[in-house]
Every structure is written in C-alpha cells, then in structure tokens.
Point group: D2
Chain length 263, copies 4
C-alpha cells in the first residue's frame, strides 16, 4: 500500500519548527470548585516536522483538540492549562513529534466591587495560555492583557494639571508546568500598577473616587512597566515580561515601555 | 440643589440620534430546553438625546445591562434577543428616550456531523443580535457571518480546472420582535449556498467528499449571494440583506456581491 | 461562438445591488498646484447586476482602475474624487451598469505648526472618498476620521479634576459631485470640536499649552458631536453625518455619540 | 534649577529594554535612481532606559524622526533603512541610550507583467524595515508579507482534484547593516514558492495560465515554507525566518508552517 503523501520525503529536507492549525475557534469548558466555565477561545496547535517527512497529518491535530475538550469537561478541577496539556498528551499518541505547543486565547470575566458604592461589576480581560511539550517535559507561558490608565507626571508638574489616557498593560510568565499561578493574581498585579483601576460600572461617587485616585498617582508608562515587574516578583521560578502601551490623549501616536526579569 | 451636568441645556441644541456605550464586553448566560449557554459578547447600547439636554447618564445604561444579565439567567428559555429586550425595558425605567437600540455580538458554536465519517465537530460562527425600541415598539435585526468557499465556474469552463477560495457569507434579517427566527436556520441558509460547506474536523474520506462536492458545484460570489437570498425566502415578514466576499486565490484583492429583498 | 459564462442567465433571477472588487491596494498619484502626491489606497469598485446576467466581468473593473490611474497623473489638478469619476467613466465604456460606485480609502498627511514653539509637525488622518454614478449623474461622499480628546465636564464639576481620554471624530458629507469641499476643511471642523487638538510633535511649552486648553474646554462626546455638526453648517447642499467615540480612561468600554443634519 | 521629571530617580530601579513611541504615522520620501517614492508608514522608535532614570524625553524621539525625514529627502539614493539609520544617529546626539531600534512598516507597490497578455499590473506588499543600534553597531531586519496560494497535493492524489486557497508568506532577514539586500528580491523568493503567483489584473488568457500553473504545482504549507527558506539561501550572512499561513477553503481555521535557517 502506498504511503500517505504526508509521510513521503520532501524535495527540500528542511526541519520545520512549527507546523499545525491556527485561528481555530471552538467551545471549551473548564471547571473550578464545582462550577463550570465556558469559553470560545482561539486555539493554535503546532508540532515540529523533521526534514525527512513531507507533511503533518493535520486532522490528527484537530482530533486531539476535540477529544481533549470532550473528555476534559468531566473533571472537578479543570483549567485551560490542563486542557492544553491534555491536547498535547493525546496528540503524542497519534502523531510523532519532538516539540509541540498549544496556545489558547480567550476572554476572562472577573466579578469585582466598585470602590465606593460597592456594586458588583463584571470586568473582561484578554488572556493567553501556552503549553509546550519539549522532549517529554511540559512548560507553560501565561499572559494577561489588562486596561488601565496613565496620568502624566511631567505635565502635572509643569502646569499643575495632567493629561490622562487609557493604557494597556501586558504581563507574561514563562514557568514549569506545575508552578501554580493564578491568572487573576496576574491581572491584579497589572491593575495595581496603573494610575488607577478602571471599571465597567461606576456610579457618580465611584467616578469621583477613581478620578481622585488617578490625580494622586501620576505615572509615566515607564513607571507602570516597572511596577508590573516589581509586583510580579512574588511569582518564583518565572521568566517575566511586562509591556505597557499608553494611548496618548495629546498625540495621535502611542508611547510604550517594555522590560523583563527572571525571578 | 443643582441639576446634574447632563440634564442642563447644551450650547448647540442639536438632537443626537445615538448616544451610549460601545465595545463593552461582559459575561452573558442564555438558556434553552434546560441547558445554559455562556457568552462573552461585545455590547453596544444607545439612546437618542433631545437638543434640550447636554448629556446621557451613561452609568444608567451600564446598570441596565448588568441588571438584565443578572435577572435574565433565571428563565427557562432565554435568548440573546430576550436579553436585548430586557436591557431596553430596564433602561426605559431609568432614563427617558424615544428610541433605544442594543447590539450584542458574539460567537455561536454549533455541533454538526462530518459528511462521511460521521464524526462530531464544533463549528463557530459570528452572530449579531440587534433589538430596537421605537415609540414603544420592539423590532430586531439578526445577522450571521459564515465561512464557506467559491469555485470559479469561468476558470472551470475555459480550462477544465477551477480556482477555489475561502469565502465569507453574511445574512441579515430585520423583522418584528416576535417573529420567531432561529440563528441556526440562518446559518444553514448561508452554508447551503456555498460551493460546499466547510468543517473544522475532516478525516481523509470526508475531505475527499467535500472536495468532490466543491468541483461539482462551481459558483461565482454572485451565485452564492443570489442563493442566500433565495434560501431566505422562507422567512416571512423580513427585510433581508445578503453579502458574500470571496478571498480570491489568484488575486491579492477580494471580490464581493451584495443584494437585498423583502419577504 | 459560446457566450461568456458571465453573460448567461443565472438560475436565480435576482438583481444584485453591488458586485465588484474590494480590498484592492495600488499606487495612486494626485496633483495640486504643480505638486504631486502619492497614495497607496484601498479601493472598492462595484456595479449593479441585473437578474438576467450570471456575473460581472471582474477584470474590466480592475482594468478601469489601472487605466484611470495611469492617465490621470498627467493632469495639473487631480484629486482622489476626480480619479473616482474617471474610473467610473472608463468602466461605463467597458461594461454595462445602471449604478456604479468607487470607494478610495487612504491616509492624508497634513503639515501644521505646534501651538507655542511653532515647529512644523506632520499629522496623519484617515480619509474616504466615495463617488457614485446613478443613471448618468455623479455624486460623492467624503469622510474623515480625526483623533482628538474629551475632558469630562461632569467629573470636573463634582471633583474639580477631570478624566481625559483620546477620542475619535468622524465627519461624512454626501453631496453633488461638483460641490467643492476640501478634505482639509473637514479635518479642521473635527479638530476644532475636541477639548483640544492633538499633535505628533510637542515640546514642553507646547504640551503645557495643550493641557491648559483641554482643562479650560471640558466636553462630553455629546458636545463634540454637536460641535462637529455645527462646524459643518458652512458646507451647503450636503447631508452631513458626525460620530464621536471616546476611549474612556476610567472604563474598559468606549462611549459614543452620533447625529446627522441636512444643510 | 530643578531637574526635569524624566531625569530623576525612579522608585523601582529596573532597567527598561524598550521605551519610546509607536503607531506614529507620517509622510516619508525615499529616492532611487533619480525617482522619488512616497510612503505613509507606521513608525516605532524605542531606546533602553537605565534603572537610574525615571523617563525618556519622548519629544526628542519624535524630533529625530521629523528631522531625519526632512533632511533625508535631498539624497540621490535614499532607502527606508537609510532613513532608519539616520533617525537613530540623530537621536544619539539628543538623548543617551545603549541600544535603540526603529521599525518602519509600509506598503511597497511593484509593477509587474501579467503572464500571458503582458499587461502591466501594480502589486502591493506589506514590508517592515527594522534598524538597531547596539553599542555603536548598526544591524537591520527586513521583512516582507506576500500573498499567494496553496493547492493541496493530498486531496489532488486521493481524488484527482485539489482544494485551493489563498496563502500568506512571510520572509524575514536579520543581517549587518551594510549587507545589500533588495526587498524586491525577497518578495520574489516568496512569490516563487507558492503553487502560483497571484496578480491584481488578469485577462482570461492570464487566468487560464495561472490556474493551470497552480494545478501542476500542488503544495502543502510545509512545502511553501521549505521553498522560501531554500530560495533565501542566496542571501549570505543572514538569519532567515519563514512562515506561511494558508486560509483553508475546506476549513474554518488556517494552517501554518514556520522555520528558520542561518546562511
């Protein structure tokens, strides 16, 4: 019987570092403390391909995603990173590879209280969970993207009044798979680094409190970036990256600051 | 006591057709037949503002969204359009307006069977639900965006072989609020209009069947657009719009076709 | 000889309102007062298609764009709207249609002086030029998208300090083809409606001036939207639409205001 | 006299790897062989910031961009990478830094002939030019993003007919600043790696030729990625990265292949 096209020799014997499916959207269930959570994340699943094989059997990648999603939902505690690990574990039994990687991107909604009126408000953050399997060892990279603001200390000093704008903070942690890190704690680190937190719902008294907090806490993007890294020092065994982009209210362009640390 | 800033007279006495919040992402639950569904949609909520008032009380719009989401989840049957209606109904009691509109955009995941191997596969589609309240009357506009493909009949005829590409079909229905229309039926209309349906999971035998179907069914974007409108004729009492964009595999640009009908 | 596939009868005899090419990027030259300007706009060109014809000859649309671009550049005064008219005029000689429409989207860079230091700074704005030909008559719709800011008068009043954020203003004018309207005048109307103008380059003394101007001129999105419409009243014979989106610095969502007028 | 806020000590003494401006759009002129070319690129300019300084003087970064653009246009031969080098050279005299980086992203339009009818057609590609200055040494990274297609050899073999789709090829070269590499040669390498080239303008005879070429040359994304790397082997002294994304016509998701090499 003829070999599948994918299993033949390619003309150019180049190893490919990543081959797979991307921008795949599907329904995922996770569970925590008896409650289930549903997401429609965007998933990317890739493996390496040696120079001796023409192609990857793409349908086995999609099957691994489908089967892991279906079985995973029966567990009591089941996180997005556990799902990522299960996808790679299933794939290992269907398709040979040396290194495999799954990236799951979605929105995480967190309930918080407003600062003065104490109302409950739902806040949505973009998160990314990457799980890698290299020569039998799992690692993970967790990322959060969180909105906040900057209040310019330079304008504040020279004029007594600042310019203020929305800013976006990014925090990424690369660590061993079993290092327990909560995405909500990462979101807290970023939120606490801005001039003030932002909220979906704000009554007049909350708004007054947020605006006051902003003005008492002027920060450059450089300050926010440093404070994110400083806030993240509690997470041990991690390579940490921080980035802040400020959508300047006095300019058409944005300003940014980026840094990394190893804890 | 001083009037709120928003309730004073503006300098320019211009009526504004839409004022409100947009790009608000939050967690929403719907239910159908005893099962609950969760979404993190993007929501826009706007009302008109007469020339005699300076501003809208934005926090009342956000409160109406929060409260409707919280209460809605206790119903047995609860759709996104029912949620939209509830948001406007709550807002009416908090803030005066003549016309109000809520737009909810999210992904809808549908389970289907692959054409030959009969595997279950999850397919995600972008949907948009708009509910309007004008002088006491509710109307709605439902939209779906569905992926498929076109197979060029012109190239097929002149060369015996076609060019093929991914295409995107849009179907929108504007109708009275109580006209029962299922978003899944709208998705079916669009999917059945392409050269073939597309699937997330396809085993070799499924792939062969899909490719064969494509080649037996060559279509221009013009054909797909007409077939969507024709397929939608079963929905009575609707203003229907169809649009198809084909991401040409022989060009850098796309081609498109658009049309509308009243059934 | 066999008819081209496009010229045959379709199965569904539905008229299509728009059929054509979209997302086509190419190089365009315009000229003004002896100087030439170059753009790489995104172009969409569509025509209607009667129910009696299966398809549009797409290559004739692309040829009309190419030929108009090539010939146009020899004129002394040659605007994007003149190019749009030429594309439709060429197409009329190649392909039958009742109504045709071309949309040209690009960035327009304008040189201005900073408010105090008087430095020259280049400011970029997104513009859109639409030209339509319906039963022999040309009309046009000009649009600009301009960045600025809002400074919340409500927070200013209740706390003495405001929240400030980047805002985006849109102005659109639909009018007869020969109504002379300068895109730069439209940009000015929008810029003058914000709490302050924004600049790419700002020295310390300019920054102080801009921040002071902002604080003296607090505005809701509602105010900015009304002021755009009011500023546009000088353009006669136009249907005018204005929209403002404010990227709130105290919220994760945006707020918006929209209105229209006929002058 | 008081130190500028930016020059004081920050609370957290963390070195920042990149601080600067991003998403800045402006007008740029380059010249080649006596002809001038104009672009409206998106520019990012960043420098490192030591732990001993609170902030970067952002306006000096913008000034360096403005001044380099203004002076640069008088040269006979002036490329985007020469502009990048000039921006960093100017900035070095205004602001201290150890490593600086400028990224210029724009569209490059190339005139080519159609394969059979020999018509001239303008083809637009996205390009990115990055110039870095580290401890006195300039390096550069050039990237191109080029559209083409893949024709599935697996479906072709099992059914005699393929599925075909648009694909996007990326090629990136990191090398010393004075290594002469033409962006157009990089575009050629990517274009020649697809199942066939794509064109904006195609007459019937051209279309037939392109479609025939496609079917004679079926390729997986893996094949296209390998062929890009193989085609790039002529560029010496470079770290080369290639990536291909295929927008599958039988799936809702995309497939991808990525690899790198050192020549």
């Amino acid at each position: 019987m003829k070999k599948d096209m994918q299993d033949r020799k390619p003309v150019v014997r180049q190893t490919l570092e990543k081959v797979g499916v991307t921008n795949l959207k599907t329904l995922v269930e996770t569970s925590w403390g008896g409650r289930t959570y549903k997401f429609v994340p965007k998933i990317q699943l890739t493996i390496d391909l040696p120079g001796s094989r023409k192609g990857v059997h793409m349908s086995r990648l999609v099957e691994s995603i489908s089967e892991a999603i279906e079985e995973g939902s029966r567990e009591t505690h089941y996180s997005l990173e556990a799902l990522g690990k299960d996808i790679l574990s299933k794939l290992r039994r269907k398709h040979p590879f040396k290194s495999g990687e799954v990236i799951i991107e979605t929105d995480l909604v967190v309930q918080v209280k407003t600062p003065v009126s104490g109302r409950t408000t739902a806040e949505s953050h973009e998160i990314k969970v990457k799980v890698r399997l290299d020569k039998g060892t799992f690692t993970k990279t967790l990322s959060v993207k969180v909105l906040g603001n900057t209040v310019c200390p330079h304008a504040m000093e020279i004029t007594g009044i600042p310019h203020i704008q929305r800013a976006i903070g990014f925090l990424e942690m690369e660590t061993r798979f079993d290092n327990r890190i909560d995405l909500k704690d990462m979101i807290d680190v970023v939120e606490n680094s801005f001039s003030s937190k932002v909220y979906t719902l704000l009554k007049s008294e909350d708004e007054a409190s947020v605006v006051k907090r902003m003005h008492e806490n002027p920060k450059f993007v450089e300050d926010v970036c440093r404070d994110i890294l400083y806030g993240a020092r509690a997470f041990k065994g991690c390579i940490v990256k921080a980035k802040v982009v400020s959508e300047e209210s006095i300019h058409r362009h944005d300003v940014l600051a980026e840094a990394s640390a190893k804890y």
